[in-house]
């Protein structure tokens, strides 16, 4: 082969991936880099954004307990949501997997159905049911005399966790479902023939094998919950801000773009660290199951 032809061959992969690469750089990397840059700029009520390099925003986030509280709340809500989806989603997927053909596809559709509805509509549904004195469920329970005052749901962390868990459930169920598909269909019979009861089979045989599925589902749910905007904005409102709603407010209400950018960047970095870190841990721990 001639040198020129060889050079052409070497360039081919680059040429072929160039369009996608340019799109990626154009709509993701450049805006991301600009956001990071923005977080180091200065801002004032009257002077607006000044393109200088200062650590003012980062210093403010690091020292003001207001921000620590907000990030801590974001972490807590995402963590509880993840826990709730795992506790409900894993058994749900297991039961689903044991159903016979027609019921299985029906309930799979029921589980995936919420994904077809906008997050805003779904969250507003919760607000309609539990929103103060006029919420449907609250009204009903109060008229029946079960409760004397509305169930505290709106503007509570509990409400946010429940609504988020509802939104995130399909991701957990699908992830565990995928892990269950890899199970040997005879594995429960094998354990039973060796003398294991139903509880032992779940604990010793099924759980360890679907754990990677639960954990990868947890990573998806955690990162989506931590960066969720619509649900915390509707349920939590201004009273219970999380990192995403905080960044939004800095950008669009206070118009302090640099501070908003710093919040957004910190959220991104924290998420990347948590997700990559736990992924490494999981892969090391479950090396044998993943093979």
């Amino acid at each position: 082969m001639s040198a020129a032809a060889e050079e052409r061959r070497a360039r081919a992969p680059w040429a072929l991936t160039a369009p996608a690469l340019m799109l990626f750089v154009g709509v993701l990397l450049i805006p991301l880099a600009m956001t990071v840059m923005l977080s180091f700029h200065d801002w004032g009520q009257y002077k607006g954004i000044e393109p200088v390099f200062i650590l003012k925003n980062w210093h403010e986030i690091a020292t003001d307990p207001y921000y620590a509280e907000m990030f801590w709340r974001t972490f807590r809500i995402a963590m509880l949501t993840t826990l709730l989806t795992a506790l409900l989603g894993a058994p749900e997927a297991y039961i689903l997997n044991r159903m016979s053909g027609r019921w299985k596809s029906f309930f799979l559709l029921v589980i995936l159905g919420p994904l077809l509805i906008s997050v805003v509509a779904r969250t507003l549904g919760w607000a309609l049911l539990f929103g103060g004195n006029n919420g449907l469920v609250n009204k009903l329970l109060m008229s029946l005399g079960v409760i004397s005052s509305p169930i505290p749901f709106m503007f509570t962390e509990t409400g946010m966790v429940i609504a988020l868990a509802h939104v995130m459930m399909p991701f957990m169920v699908l992830s565990v479902w995928a892990a269950l598909q890899r199970l040997d269909p005879q594995i429960e019979n094998a354990a039973m023939s060796l003398g294991a009861g139903p509880a032992t089979i779940i604990r010793r045989i099924i759980m360890p094998q679907i754990m990677p599925g639960v954990l990868s589902g947890a990573i998806i749910v955690f990162s989506l919950s931590a960066s969720a905007f619509a649900t915390p904005a509707i349920i939590g409102g201004r009273r219970l801000k999380v990192a995403a709603t905080l960044a939004y407010d800095e950008f669009l209400n206070t118009l302090n773009w640099p501070l908003g950018a710093a919040v957004a960047t910190l959220l991104l970095v924290a998420l990347v660290l948590i997700v990559v870190g736990s992924n490494v841990l999981i892969e090391r721990r479950y090396a044998e199951v993943f093979r």
Binding site: P185, N189, A191, A196, R204, Q209, V289, R291
Partner: protein
């Protein structure tokens, strides 16, 4: 007295009868094979013994105790699955130890028995390997050790060798037979491979469409097939349309230009079937033309076009000259080598 007894066992799924009227008495220490094509009900029968399925009718007894009343986890049977169904998150030793753990065997005894079981199947030193890091044959051995370590009253093998390649399968057959002989566990093997059934078992249960066609030793089922199905399924066979004539003083059976004194019983239209290796080339007999001649090392395989339809003949490669393709030959056999069945005339 029978050790394991199946008494008119039947299984229905909805309107479909998968196993019907299955009666079998297994002696202690016996090696039995359920042989039949896929869908004949052999695996269903095994699963009923294991307890994964409940029989619709009939009884299964082990040492005169009703086995169907006992929960599968308490039956104490050892089972090797077609897919092995090893626990992928446990090492080989942990897999084998699982059944002992469920029986609360003390730790030191457990370790000793696991080591011995793995050594028995030739896997000493593989204790800490995970199943997915083992070859198919090694996984098979772990599955066998896991089933045997609990000292099962009956060992059930569900097509255990079908996922192995031919050479390994043969090795495992020999090894399986040796292990079974040594420890004397009553064993039931489900297989669709007639060679496997014949080389391993004391008795073969040939099944077709949920029913038992024949129960007998490998030699019996091969040489005295009870039905056309058995003779077709166990090895190759030649079926020729023939007739028994009892009008003369000595009754004769005739197929084309081949003829011999007829056995007692049948008369009129019959089918005679003869194994290919029992047919020889002679001066008189069924006239046939050799279509193809295939050399297979220790024997020759001839495909012939005879007066009574296609025929196959197998001859030992004994160094003598063999007829060539296109040659016209006479096929002959001893009357005692054939089995004669009545034939419905259309």
């Amino acid at each position: 007295m029978a050790y394991l007894e199946l008494d008119r066992v039947a299984k229905q799924f909805g309107a479909q009868t998968v196993v019907d009227d299955f009666s079998l008495a297994v002696g202690k220490g016996e090696f039995i094979s359920f042989l039949g094509p896929s869908g004949c009900g052999k695996t269903t029968t095994l699963q009923m013994i294991a307890g994964f399925l409940d029989p619709t009718r009939g009884a299964i007894r082990l040492e005169d105790k009703d086995l169907t009343a006992i929960h599968p986890a308490k039956r104490g049977l050892g089972i090797v699955f077609q897919s092995y169904a090893l626990f992928p998150h446990m090492t080989a030793a942990e897999n084998v130890a699982f059944g002992l753990e469920m029986r609360n065997v003390p730790r030191t005894e457990r370790a000793e028995r696991v080591r011995a079981a793995l050594a028995m199947v030739g896997l000493a030193g593989f204790e800490d390997r995970h199943p997915r890091r083992m070859s198919g044959g090694q996984q098979q051995r772990v599955a066998l050790a896991r089933a045997l370590v609990i000292k099962p009253s009956v060992l059930l093998l569900d097509e255990p060798l079908s996922n192995l390649d031919a050479k390994l399968r043969e090795e495992m057959q020999i090894e399986l037979r040796q292990i079974q002989r040594t420890i004397g566990t009553t064993t039931i093997l489900v297989t669709h491979d007639q060679n496997e059934a014949m080389s391993l078992s004391d008795r073969i249960v040939v099944m077709s469409q949920g029913r038992i066609e024949q129960i007998g030793s490998p030699q019996e089922t091969y040489e005295k097939p009870a039905s056309a199905f058995v003779s077709q399924f166990l090895g190759k066979t030649n079926d020729f349309a023939a007739a028994v004539d009892r009008s003369a003083t000595s009754a004769r059976v005739t197929a084309g230009s081949w003829s011999a004194p007829a056995p007692a019983g049948l008369s009129g239209a019959v089918t005679v079937s003869i194994r290919p290796e029992r047919i020889g080339f002679g001066d008189a007999g069924l006239s046939a033309k050799i279509v193809t001649r295939i050399f297979q090392g220790n024997h020759w395989l001839f495909q012939c076009d005879s007066e009574c339809g296609p025929a196959i003949v197998i001859r030992q490669n004994d160094g003598k000259a063999q007829p060539t393709e296109g040659e016209t030959v006479r096929l002959t056999w001893r009357p005692e080598d054939m089995s004669v069945r009545a034939r419905a005339v259309a």
